[in-house]
């Protein structure tokens, strides 16, 4: 009887297309919006992926990585003296302005690394040598900088080319790949001292102290030790990541905005597919009653309805996820908006589509269960 169920479904083209469209829309909206949300959330923590460190020491009031409340220069030595700290290095981060060849300005994300150890350096350098950063007035830029800072030039910036940061010369000695920052400003790396020369002077300039635990101690243990000894706040990498994510969830409209769209996708999916499927069952009431009269049990008819609901569900899900992936492909080629689709997301979307289909099928099954075969004799 299953092929009969499918023929009944596919034969009603208008309803079939409506059902598939509704579920496609729901799957697309839920997966695409979640992917963009995850992408934005990942941008908030891009500093941590571009400057890896086991322990991040910050001002006691700091809650997330993009919020900088500078420390005193002496704090670096206080951290270094804490038992369990293998080494600690200063790190500067700040938004500065770069002047382009055509006279316009672009914001850049300046990162100042400890010149001695280069702790916090980018991991994927595709051109040039990191050590050259120790030369005066030199910077290492990411590929996004090449795109954004080349405006007004005949050919894109490359190693050896020069541009200006706050009226100071910056010579490119290398190019790296870095994750995009939350503000969209491209990353420019320099030594810590060089970065302070580019940055407008303030009373305190040390953004973070990054540290590593000695062998035999965990980052958590050492972070606790740093907090006890210095009064500063010390996060492990994982803690800082989640603290940042939760800060954005609590303090910005991003999750509400995306959450609304995602819930809307779910509601529209349930409403459209539930209503359309119910109307499909209503229109086929006489045929279903005839099947019941001929001896089809409620259980058989329920299985037929489940097959119909899940067929449109799986087709809608496939098209929806396909379209979401296509969106992702196009976004990633363009560089924005951010898009991350972890494998859990298609699985979760699949679960929700199954939920929608089950709901739609149950409405029909309820109708079929109550259906009296005798109605087939009524005019």
């Amino acid at each position: 009887m299953y092929h009969i169920a499918l023929r009944m479904l596919l034969g009603d083209k208008a309803k079939y297309i409506m059902l598939v469209s509704g579920l496609t829309f729901a799957a697309l909206l839920m997966s695409q919006q979640c992917s963009v949300f995850f992408g934005i959330m990942s941008w908030t923590t891009s500093h941590m992926r571009n400057m890896r460190a086991s322990i991040w020491v910050v001002d006691p009031k700091v809650e997330q990585i993009n919020e900088v409340k500078p420390l005193r220069d002496t704090d670096i030595n206080r951290v270094r003296t804490v038992p369990g700290v293998a080494y600690a290095a200063p790190l500067y981060t700040g938004l500065l302005q770069a002047r382009l060849a055509d006279g316009s300005f672009k914001q850049i994300q300046m990162v100042g690394l400890d010149a001695g150890t280069m702790v916090g350096r980018p991991s994927r350098i595709i051109e040039g040598h990191l050590e050259d950063l120790r030369l005066p007035n030199t910077v290492l830029v990411d590929t996004d900088s090449i795109k954004k800072l080349s405006t007004g030039r005949r050919k894109p910036l490359g190693v050896g080319d020069v541009f200006e940061i706050n009226d100071r010369e910056a010579r490119i000695i290398g190019i790296c790949i870095a994750d995009k920052s939350f503000t969209g400003a491209p990353y420019v790396f320099a030594t810590y001292d060089q970065a302070l020369r580019y940055a407008p002077p303030t009373r305190k300039m040390l953004s973070f102290v990054i540290a590593e635990p000695v062998a035999g101690m965990t980052a958590r243990q050492v972070a606790d030790q740093i907090h006890q000894e210095t009064g500063l706040r010390a996060f492990t990498e994982d803690e800082f990541f989640w603290s940042t994510i939760w800060w954005y969830i609590r303090n910005t409209g991003i999750p509400i905005s995306f959450g609304t769209t995602i819930i809307l996708g779910l509601v529209v999916g349930i409403a459209v597919s539930g209503q359309t499927f119910y109307s499909f069952v209503l229109e086929n009431t006489r045929h279903l009653a005839a099947l019941k009269a001929m001896g089809a049990s409620t259980w058989l008819l329920s299985r037929m309805l489940l097959l119909q609901a899940f067929t449109v569900g799986f087709i809608g899900y496939g098209i929806g996820i396909g379209l979401a992936s296509l969106c992702g492909f196009m976004f990633l080629r363009k560089g924005q908006p951010p898009f991350i689709m972890p494998y859990q997301l298609p699985l979760a979307t699949f679960g929700l589509i199954v939920l929608i289909c089950t709901f739609a099928a149950l409405i029909g099954i309820r109708r079929v269960a109550k259906l009296e075969a005798a109605i087939v004799f009524r005019a």
Binding site: R7, L291, K292, A296, S297, A374
Partner: protein, 246 residues
């Protein structure tokens, strides 16, 4: 009517009552109906609209629960069977022909006819083979892959007859099988049903308003106000209407 087929009862209805609604809106459709049908018989149930013909057909077919009384079909007591058993009984023993044919428009004629076999658990290929044979028997062997909408009313009713017969049920229930057809087509359909009823293992119950076809009946049960008023023998030699108004 053949002598040997009159001896055995196929359907026995005794004191059956059925009411719809409750309180002020309660309507009693069957008021203690007594009625029987013999094997090899074509029984017509006639009467004015609202007299309870369709309700009687529904309870005999096991598609509607009744309030009181007893119904026995081929020895099975419907009044003491559970719903699941009644469904199973219908699947094996009853074929249906409906006024509006009730063919599924998105299926081919062959697929429509194969439905009772598929419900019975037969494999698709075998069911469609049996359907093709049943369609050939009603003269539609060349329309296997046509859609119902491509057929005339008479052809659609013949498809419905093939569907009712394909699994070789012993009781054929027909609800106004000729009312949607012209006179000539109606007679062809009745000839077919008359032949079906000739089998000594089978019987046909037809509810109809159509006095053009009364003469096909072996017996006619006249209903009035929820009761069977009288049962008369049919007159195969005449196509004159019995005195029951449509």
């Amino acid at each position: 009517m053949p002598e040997e087929s009159t001896s055995q009862l196929a359907v026995r209805v005794k004191g059956v009552t059925k009411a719809f609604g409750s309180g002020d809106t309660r309507t009693v459709a069957l008021k203690g109906v007594d009625f029987d049908v013999r094997l090899g018989e074509l029984m017509m149930v006639v009467g004015q609209s609202g007299c309870g013909k369709t309700t009687l057909l529904s309870v005999v077919a096991g598609t509607l629960l009744f309030d009181e009384g007893e119904i026995e079909v081929f020895g099975s007591k419907l009044h003491s069977m559970k719903q699941g058993a009644i469904t199973e009984f219908r699947k094996r023993n009853i074929g249906f022909i409906f006024q509006q044919f009730n063919l599924i428009p998105t299926l081919t004629v062959k697929e429509n006819v194969s439905v009772p076999m598929l419900i019975g658990g037969m494999r698709r290929r075998e069911a469609e083979k049996a359907a093709a044979e049943a369609l050939a028997r009603v003269g539609l062997g060349d329309k296997l892959n046509a859609r119902p909408s491509m057929l005339s009313g008479g052809q659609q009713q013949r498809v419905a007859i093939a569907r009712a017969l394909v699994h070789e049920p012993r009781l054929i229930i027909c609800d106004e099988p000729t009312s949607a057809l012209d006179s000539e087509t109606g007679h062809k359909i009745m000839d077919l049903l008359h032949d079906v009823a000739r089998s000594p293992e089978r019987c046909v119950i037809i509810v109809t308003h159509d006095n053009r076809v009364f003469h096909y009946a072996d017996r006619i049960a006249e209903m009035e106000d929820g009761r069977v008023r009288r049962v008369t023998a049919g007159n195969h030699d005449s196509n004159a209407a019995v005195p029951t108004q449509a």
